[in-house]
Subunit: 339 residues, 2 copies
DNA sequence: ACAAAAATTGTCGACGTTGTCATTGCCTTG
DNA sequence: CAAGGCAATGACAACGTCGACAATTTTTGT
């Protein structure tokens, strides 16, 4: 392998001078610099990160731990956000997936340490509370899309489920809807309570009574093997004598079944019933016809800003543990009509 | 940081002996081994990969290059498959995303080289032909979910779209369907042609005429901003006077619109019209009611076997470039009825 | 023109690990 | 009991890079 030494020999300078050129340090004549750069190009020299790391005890690498990946596929945008930040700032990404198994997670932390990772991004694929195996380890960590259970020691960055659901509810209310159905997310998801709470409060603020709201559970049980009542719940809501004019869905995926339930009952969307989702899971929200009005989870930004935050923690050595929240932007499409 | 030297000092042996213990080499007394292991535990020593790599010029790390990530979110299972193989075989994964930009891809290759990666897995998020920027670089590479355009130099591993579509078509034919609609995938996807071809051939084998098949284009245009005719195409197919009794969808996502089109026309699924998808994109195929019969893309296995293959290429130094194909398993659910 | 200051370049060692080879001590064999 | 063999352990160098410092050359000030 071609090393700094071979370059130095080729350019007729010392290896230290080559090092200076590579790192853009001052105190190199333009002439020398060019000669070295030519040698680098000719030999196809590429710096060896491992050697650099050994010298500087900085790896310029972040680790990503994810839990499940497949249950909410769209949240891979978190990872894309992280990568984009990392790429544009000369950091590398070492990635591992725990599958939700604690022992695997412990192995991953060990692997990260053996690579002398600068920091860790702990990413969950749905918004939830976790208890990371990190505790004993002293690597800067930012939690993304989740928050630590026990300690307030770790900084976390999360979507603002409450604001998103508030905006959606308000959107419906402003368009004249006064009887609204709600199909709840699986209660084990952190978003479930936040969204429902925002829905209830906002409806109340606008003067609706609890009896104007038809709230039903859509799913429950462990993620991946949950029981699914959405179709039945939606059918039931829509067959009430004082049928709601709009239904809020816990998320976009569940909205598929609400669409099917409505259509099966011969109802037109949005003329007979308006529907809104949550997440802006575009594979679904754009495939539904009419296209679904929803609130977009800021996955990409969670990742991007999480990486940025981690970096500032690492370089400034300050670990002000706290929580950041990113808003969910309302995406207006065609599934709601004004009354 | 605690190094091999501190462990050696603590255990009262030379650093070489510690090295032997770590790597499970012979010629160490049980007594010594235990003393060293105790010291390792006490000090919390973890081997430094960078130093190891510098010595051995082997990084035990694979690189993953992905193109787009968000368009077909479920294909992250490829990455999960790779990770699972890597984790259980003591390899690490360095990951980067090109976003489809060639200059970014070139940077990534450089980054990989600077980490002295052992091999690269080139992963695309939908099945297609690519022309990787790798050419000049001499790192063992396996292409996953895609195949090289120009050269036959790189080994590739792909899903068997043809077999999957054949099995699905056969499944419908065996259940008595003789007029079948087909909504085509975007033609720029490699699967589009393979699946359509399998559909046509299998139908012909069973004695159907071309006039028994209603084939319509569902989407076209660049991935991510394609134009979407699925709803219109499905509506049109289902309003013909000799309406097909079954529709094959280019993929599961498009099946959403076919469901909506059918229901909007007052047709029951599957009594009036049977529907099959492709991909087994479970967020969709399980959310549809009735649940969708489809063919599962073997994403996880593509990743897992791809990693395994890459490893064997690296260790055996043999680069028999060729192509492997993994079959798509038919998943029988409730969206098809026998006539 | 000469000293002082600044710019340029080089020498050397250390980071943590392991391969090579050397050393020590014990055991087998005749 | 000597010679040879083998097991256990250690000393040392080298991998590629860069920081500390030294050496050399050029520029500046008077």
């Amino acid at each position: 392998m071609v090393s700094i030494v071979s370059v130095a020999k080729a350019a007729g300078v010392s290896n230290k001078t080559v090092s200076r050129v590579i790192n853009g340090e001052p105190h190199v004549t333009e002439d020398t610099r060019e000669r070295v750069e030519k040698a680098i190009r000719d030999l196809g020299y590429i710096p060896n990160m491992a050697a650099r790391q050994i010298r500087s005890s900085r790896s310029n690498t972040f680790g990503i731990i994810t839990d499940y990946v497949s249950t909410t596929p769209y949240s891979v945008d978190i990872v894309r956000g992280i990568q984009d930040w990392a790429n544009t700032h000369g950091k590398s990404i070492l990635m591992a997936n725990s599958g939700g198994l604690p022992e695997r997670e412990a192995d991953i932390w060990k692997m990260f340490q053996s690579h002398r990772i600068d920091g860790v991004l702990y990413v969950t694929m749905y918004h939830r509370v976790v208890d990371p195996e990190a505790g004993d380890v002293n690597i800067p960590t930012v939690m993304i899309n989740c928050r630590p259970q026990t300690s307030e020691l770790l900084p976390s960055i999360e979507p603002d489920d409450f604001q998103g659901a508030r905006d959606l509810t308000q959107y419906l209310l402003e368009r004249g809807h006064r009887r609204i159905g709600y199909v709840r997310l699986n209660p084990i998801l952190l978003g479930a309570e936040l969204r429902l709470d925002a829905f209830r409060r906002t409806a109340k603020e606008f003067g609706l009574a609890e009896s104007d709201l038809s709230i039903r559970l859509g799913m429950e049980g462990p993620v991946g093997v949950e029981e699914n009542y959405v179709f039945a719940a939606a059918s039931e809501i829509l067959q009430q004598k004082d049928r709601p004019t709009a239904i809020m869905s816990g998320n976009d995926e569940m909205a598929i079944q609400i669409y099917i339930a409505a259509l099966t009952l011969g109802l037109r969307i949005p003329q007979d019933v308006s529907i809104v989702g949550f997440d802006d899971f575009r594979t679904v929200s754009l495939a539904l016809k009419p296209e679904l009005t929803t609130a977009a989870l800021p996955y990409y930004d969670l990742g991007f800003q999480g990486a940025e935050w981690l970096n500032s923690i690492i370089s400034e050595e300050m670990v002000r543990a706290n929580r950041r929240v990113i808003s969910c932007k309302l995406v207006e499409r065609a599934s709601v009509c004004a009354l």
